[in-house]
Structures are given as structure tokens and as C-alpha cells.
């Protein structure tokens, strides 16, 4: 297995996720793009664990999975609350805090 395989796959997934975060207007779609970014990081962690034949990368990946689950729970609760208050989850309409 070439070492660049996993790392390049992670880089491409990260780029796709960054594009989604920048381009999307729907808050749920932005959260999905963040999942893409977190998975790209996880692919890299597993690849480095494989390179060094160590279990520590796996432990980090599992931490990331757990934190991502918590993040999605809180994020979607916030999206639901915003939807209830404003009848819309378009992110560019949330400009109340603009200076």
C-alpha cells in the first residue's frame, strides 16, 4: 500500500468539506460538510496508525468520532431552535449579530 493513498484521499475529502462549508446556505448541509472534514481527519489518523503500527491513531479516531456525535447532536438542536424561532435555517439570514 502506498503511503500517499490514504493521505491524498483525506486531503480531497477535506477540500470537499471546506467547499461545502463555504458554499452551502442550508445549516444542515453545512453540518454535513463538517462531517466530511472530520472523516477526512480520521482517515489520516488511521493511515498514520498503520504507518507506525501503533494503536494510538485508532484511539484518536475514536475520540474524534465521539466528539463528532456530540457536535451533531448539539448542532441539530440549535438548528431546530433557530427554525422554530425564524421559520428558516438559511445561514445568511442570521445577521442579527452583525456589527
Amino acid at each position: 500500500m502506498y503511503a500517499v493513498n490514504f493521505l491524498l484521499l483525506g486531503a480531497v475529502m477535506f477540500g470537499l468539506g471546506v467547499f461545502g462549508v463555504l458554499a452551502r446556505r442550508n445549516a444542515v448541509a453545512v453540518l454535513m460538510s463538517i462531517e466530511l472534514i472530520l472523516n477526512a481527519v480520521n482517515v489520516n489518523l488511521i493511515a498514520f496508525a498503520l504507518m507506525n503500527n501503533s494503536a494510538e491513531g485508532h484511539v484518536f479516531a475514536l475520540y474524534v468520532i465521539a466528539v463528532a456525535a456530540a457536535e451533531v447532536g448539539v448542532g441539530l438542536a440549535m438548528v431546530l431552535m433557530i427554525y422554530r424561532n425564524r421559520r428558516s435555517i438559511a445561514l445568511d439570514e442570521l445577521s442579527t449579530m452583525r456589527g
Binding site: 503511503a3 500517499v4 477535506f14 477540500g15 467547499f19 458554499a23 488511521i46 484511539v59
Partner: protein
Amino acid sequence: MIAADVNVAQNVGFYIIAAIMVYAGLRVVSTRNVVHAALWLVTVLGGVAAQYVLAAAEFVAVSQVMVYIGAVMVLFLFGIMLTRATIGAEGDLNNRNWAMGIPVALALVGVMAWVIIDEYGSSTIAEPETVMPTEAISDIYLREGLVPFLALSFVLLAAAIGAIVLARKD
């Protein structure tokens, strides 16, 4: 030229799964239907789990399937259903100036690919003899990783309570 310690079948499997994942990822960030985006995301996450199996990380692969495909995607679909009256194509899923994301993402991927190829361009990973034993992972969790593990429990507890408080109607 194929290096001596490269397993061709493993690489072919990797490239097939990676092609599916990249196409599905493109659809996640480009489709006009947010439900379709969620279902394409399932494809990406399943592909990630398959790559973990190829990388001899079976425990992480099973966790990925259970947590992401099992729990997180259900949450996403609930979120979509609860915040969208219309199921179907929508014109306003993207920002007005969404095209600015393309050069940013391309520049980012270009820089990262350059660095990765510069550093790891010719190196190969020796094929592991066995999958990573789950005992090795649990040993780290219950020894040097115990304090972060307990902290993570509190993070999950706080997230659960916070989600209930935020989403509750009153």
C-alpha cells in the same frame, strides 16, 4: 513501477472505494436536494468504514458504521425532516457567491497534495500481519488515555443535556 512490498489487490480495492467516495462527496456538496445530500453522505461514510477495514482498523470501522451510519445519519434525516416543509429540489441551498468556494478548496487541496507527495511520494506501508487488536486500543484507553476518556464522557453528557434543553419547547 510497482514497489516490491505493494499488494496490488489492496491498492485496486482502495482506488475503487476511493473513486466512489470522491464522487459521493462531490454529490454531497453539489446536489440540490438536501435529502439526497444526506443519502450520498451515507455512501461516503460507508466508504470510509471500508477504507478502515483495508487499513486493518476493524474496531474503528465497526464504530464508524454504528455511530455515523447508525446514529448520526438518523439525526441528520430527522433534522432535515423537521426543518423543511418541502421534500424535493430547492433552489436556495447555496449561497449567492458559492463559486468563491471552488478556488479556496482547490488551493487548499493543491497545497496539501504538494506537501504529502513531497514527503511521502515514494514510501510504502508494510502490510500488517494482523488487524489491530482491540486489546491494544482498550489498553491505551484505560491507562494513559483514561483522563481524556472520562472527560469525553462528560462532553457527551453535556451534549445530551444541552441538546434536550435547546430543542425543548417551552
